[in-house]
């Protein structure tokens, strides 16, 4: 066979060319028919960008349906930097804009505009906000003369409003722009229609309080605009638009009237005490304090006051570093800490509830077991002396009277007798001390109630901070009166007294009551998406022979012979009997921590009210006074029937 024959060679050439064309057809079929759907998705992703519009967050109502966090529209003027680059007389434009803003009630300097324009932004497609909360006149002018203001745009954004000002700011928290780390870690929730509430670099999220814990509910569903862009990422048109949708509303157990009263009473009392001297001559700094009002029937948080407090509005507009530092030091205390849930204090005599429960339920004493209180209790050899506050002698005391008059000696004796056991610690744990309450607010503290083993372990772990690892009888004696080896939060005190008040059920405190539809109407039951049910975290066994003597003892506290008699002088206890316990915790070199824990009315209790005030002195004179002021409002509510609708539906 002649391999050089032109005919053969022509055929070979033909076959090669044919082969090439067949390869092209095959590839074309593959790309345009077989792989097209997958490749087309990539192509669409390439030429579209998603622009998200933040939706209004859900509103927040108090227990009686009053709006305590709302939204309002803020008019914002922005400049698109990419468009600005194309403007010929750039400086003239900026001067003109400053002029329009200034002459229409929104004064601004040219330098301020330039500063804003030079700031870095997360999303280059988004225009730079130049001025917020401008007047309608500015908008009118800008839209009327829009040709004179190329690259300038305006929008209406929703921002948070607080009709009750700073009230409950620690509970409500505040919102702010998401950080890059949070953006990566945050799992978005879904709205009632199941649409994912996605986040983007400019998203606003809850940073504290309920705004943070109920972020998934409060966050609205962002509006999503699918914008077609060209290869240089310039927008050329809109492919689809889904409008933003408000977030779920929520209703709190908080009664804003009670909250405001608690805050006011606290601040007023701190101001009165500040700078005065307590009995032993120590100056009261009275820098800070807290009030907790709980519903003992379900753990609902009716008020949660802390002082000093901050204005969440300051955070809404972006806070300066200087102001932030100021807030961290108001009379020596930080306004950014919610003392009601993170403050850790020795509970002092309010802890006698626990000691008494331990002693009575373990048969160490009954209601009548008495000793002679000569003001001093001696332990060990050589004897270590523990005295009553102010060296007071109470004579013959049983548990009832010991609680009423706050006989430390009686409880030193109980502590001595229970040394070598963990009976007190066990009772404390039953009341919910030594662990977080699980309240639906961030940054709660747990406190601690040390046992012998725990003290040893602490010493071994931190030998310098805890130089002594041994457990002495003195430790148990101190524990019995809530000193030295026990630290609690105000919320834990309130929860323990709530458990005692309701007969032994320990509830997880809850600030939020209901989750409602976006833009809900409270009168429509169908608008309720879900109710946060009470959660029982434990029980304290309180048979009548245990609860009876303690209750009698606490009832006497507000009475004429009780330690809080002065605080409740003139309060109509027959109409609204208040059961409580004072506490005065010693702090080395400072004025005492003043504590008062209580509930009322005595029969069928509806409120637990506690207060803890730092460096403020004796229990009754500071915290007792504050609590009394809260009860004045509550007693009035309960007598006039105001608020019955609320408790009615809650039952």
């Amino acid at each position: 066979m002649d391999t050089t024959s032109p005919r053969l060679r022509m055929s070979i050439l033909g076959v090669v060319v044919l082969g090439c064309f067949l390869a092209l057809f095959a590839r074309l079929w593959y790309l345009q028919v077989m792989e097209a759907p997958a490749l087309a998705i990539q192509a669409t992703a390439n030429r579209t960008r998603t622009i998200a519009t933040e939706a209004p967050r859900g509103r927040i109502f108090d227990a009686k349906g009053r709006v305590i966090v709302d939204n309002r529209t803020s008019l914002i003027v922005s400049i698109d930097r990419n468009e600005l680059k194309k403007v010929k007389n750039r400086n003239e434009l900026i001067a003109r804009l400053a002029d329009v803003l200034t002459s229409n009630g929104a004064p601004i300097k040219i330098s301020t505009i330039e500063k804003r324009l030079s700031e870095k932004q997360a999303d280059q497609l988004q225009a730079v906000p130049i001025a917020a909360d401008v007047t309608e006149e500015v908008i009118h002018h800008l839209s009327e003369y829009s040709e004179d203001f190329p690259s300038v745009s305006f929008e209406r954004k929703t921002v948070r409003v607080y009709p009750y000002g700073t009230a409950a700011s620690n509970v409500l928290g505040y919102t702010g722009r998401i950080t890059a780390e949070t953006l990566k870690a945050l799992e978005p929730g879904t709205d009632p229609d199941g649409v994912v509430k996605s986040y983007h670099p400019d998203s606003i999220i809850g940073l504290a309080g309920v705004e943070a814990t109920y972020e998934k509910d409060l966050r609205g569903t962002p509006g999503v605009e699918l914008v077609q862009v060209d290869s240089k990422n310039r927008p050329v048109g809109t492919e689809s638009y889904q409008p933003p949708k408000s977030g779920n509303d929520i209703q709190l157990h908080i009664d804003i009237d009670v909250q405001v009263r608690a805050e006011q009473a606290l601040v007023d009392r701190l101001a009165v005490l500040r700078g005065t001297s307590q009995r032993d001559g120590t100056k009261r700094a009275a820098p800070a304090g807290s009030v907790v009002v709980l519903d003992p029937r379900d753990g609902g948080v009716i008020a949660l006051a802390t002082a000093p407090a901050y204005d969440p509005q300051e955070f809404a507009n972006g806070i300066t570093q200087e102001r932030y530092s100021q807030l961290q030091n108001i009379n020596g205390a930080s306004a950014l800490i919610d003392r009601s849930i993170t403050g850790q204090y020795a509970p002092g005599s309010t802890f006698k509830l626990v000691t008494a429960t331990a002693a009575l339920s373990n048969g160490l004493i009954d209601g009548k077991s008495s000793i002679y209180d000569d003001g001093v209790y001696k332990v060990g050899n050589p004897a270590q002396e523990f005295t009553n506050s102010g060296g007071q002698k109470n004579g013959n005391v049983n548990v009832v009277r010991a609680l009423t008059v706050s006989s430390d000696v009686y409880f030193y004796w109980l502590g001595d007798r229970m040394d070598g056991t963990t009976l007190i610690q066990d009772a404390a744990t039953a009341y919910g001390y030594d662990k977080k309450t699980g309240i639906d607010l961030p940054n709660e503290s747990a406190g601690y109630v040390l046992t012998k083993a725990e003290k040893k372990a602490l010493h071994n772990k931190y030998p310098t901070a805890y130089p002594n690892g041994d457990w002495y009888t003195g430790d148990n004696v101190q524990l019995a009166v809530g000193q030295n080896v026990v630290v609690v939060t105000p919320l834990q005190i309130a929860r323990a007294y709530a458990a005692f008040a309701n007969g032994g059920t320990v509830y997880q405190p809850h600030v939020v009551w209901k989750i409602l539809q976006p833009n809900s109407s409270l009168s429509k039951p169908s608008d309720v998406l879900r109710i946060i049910d009470p959660v029982v975290t434990g029980t304290v066994t309180l048979p009548p022979d245990v609860r009876g003597p303690i209750e009698s003892g606490l009832e006497g506290v507000t009475g004429p012979t009780g330690t809080a008699a002065s605080a409740f002088a003139g309060f109509d206890l027959s109409a609204f009997p208040v059961v409580g316990k004072t506490g005065t915790a010693q702090v080395d070199g400072k004025a005492d921590t003043s504590i008062f824990a209580s509930y009322g009315p005595a029969v069928a209790p509806r409120w637990v009210v506690t207060s803890v005030m730092e460096e403020s002195g004796f229990g009754a004179e500071a915290a007792g006074e504050v609590v009394r002021h809260v009860y004045e409002l509550l007693a009035n509510q309960s007598l006039t029937g105001a608020g019955t609708a609320t408790s009615g539906t809650r039952d």
């Binding site: 032109p6 050439l13 060209d230």
Partner: protein
């Protein structure tokens, strides 16, 4: 009866001059040329008119002018008996070689990193395009002179003839045009009766040379990346891949029936570069889909088939080799250009003849087709 009627009509015509060239035009080939040229004008317009509403017509106008000049060249190259080229082959070869030298001298202009243009007012002259045609002429002349008897000495002469313009074009550098010259040479040598042992030897030398070049500093990094992109489609560091990815997405976006004329978002928004030249196929494929672009390829295939057929019916071997050269030129131009856009061929800029915008390439392509028609017309003379 059908055969009789045809023969009777033929005998009627033969009464005048049965071998008259004008009686033996190839209507199918001419049809292909006309339709492809129109498709080309539409494609160029859609790729260059911009987002509007003031659509730019400058490319359309320019390309139309080139088409007209090209039509003139086609007429000229078809009218003069191709056998006269026998005497002119070396003149043409010499003239283009001179231009190729001139273009890499300071007289030439640079663009996209290659010195391959003469700037002539608003137009640009690319001598490498003409070199294809002159090389076809020179090789066809030599091989036909050798009458199917190519020994080593003659092979060296042939390779030297082909190698000179290749070397000059590589100096610009223009890899794509050099490759076309290689393919043209290979096709003519194949049909011209190069003994199989030499074919095997040349193939081996070519393979080793290619691998060697890819692993040597002769090629710039960007050239190597382009050449190897289609082999490693997952290599994210390879910038050439971005264009290829966009181009394939645009083609896929055409689906079966296309997005419609002037309606390809991927190409319209500028995601595919050089749409009017190297990536013109993406514009066609996105707008007209598989149906449209396959039809265009089919027309291209038909064009190649007609050239192949004319190569076989040519009266002399000179005519055959000319057709084989032109066939190689068109076939490879289509395979490389379209294959590159679809990611199965290396990235190197070669125009899709008759479709891509470009004066020199369009005029050369039409002139070459004029020669093929010439061979067909005079197959009985």
């Amino acid at each position: 009866m059908l055969p009789q009627s045809i023969s009777s009509r033929a005998s009627n015509q033969s009464r005048r001059d049965p071998t008259a060239p004008l009686r033996h035009l190839d209507p199918v080939l001419i049809g292909c040329i006309v339709i492809l040229s129109i498709v080309g004008l539409i494609a160029v317009f859609s790729a260059t008119r911009g987002p509007g509403p003031d659509f730019s017509k400058s490319y359309l106008v320019k390309q139309s002018i080139f088409m007209l000049i090209g039509a003139g060249a086609l007429g000229l190259f078809a009218a003069i008996d191709y056998r006269k080229l026998h005497d002119w082959a070396w003149v043409l070869y010499g003239a283009t070689t001179f231009l190729l030298v001139l273009v890499i001298s300071p007289f030439g202009s640079q663009s996209h990193g290659a010195q391959s243009w003469f700037a002539l007012g608003p137009f640009q002259l690319q001598p490498a395009e003409f070199a294809k045609l002159s090389l076809i002429g020179a090789l066809a002349f030599l091989v036909s002179e050798f009458r199917g008897d190519i020994d080593l000495r003659r092979l060296v002469a042939l390779l030297a003839t082909a190698g000179l313009p290749m070397a000059l074009i590589m100096l610009q550098p223009d890899l794509g045009e050099t490759l076309i010259l290689v393919v043209i040479t290979m096709a003519i040598l194949l049909v011209g009766g190069l003994p199989t042992k030499y074919i095997v030897a040349l193939t081996l030398v070519g393979l080793i040379g290619t691998l060697g070049a890819l692993n040597s500093p002769v090629l710039a990094d960007y050239q190597r990346n382009r050449l190897t992109a289609f082999v490693n489609p997952g290599d994210k560091s390879n910038k050439a891949l971005y264009n290829i990815e966009q181009s394939q997405q645009a083609i896929a976006n055409g689906r079966l029936t296309g997005q419609g004329l002037f309606d390809g978002p991927q190409t319209k928004l500028g995601f595919v570069p050089e749409q009017q030249t190297d990536f013109i196929f993406t514009a066609v494929a996105e707008q007209f889909g598989f149906v449209g672009s396959a039809l265009m390829l089919l027309l291209y295939g038909l064009l190649c088939y007609r050239i192949w057929r004319i190569a076989q019916v040519a009266k002399d071997s000179f005519g055959t080799y000319i057709c084989v050269g032109v066939l190689a030129m068109f076939g490879f131009s289509a395979f490389e250009n379209v294959g590159m856009a679809m990611g199965i061929m290396p990235v190197t800029g070669i125009p899709l003849l008759l479709i891509s915008a470009g004066g020199s390439s369009t005029i050369t392509a039409l002139a070459a087709l004029g020669l093929v028609l010439n061979v067909h017309m005079r197959r009985f003379q």
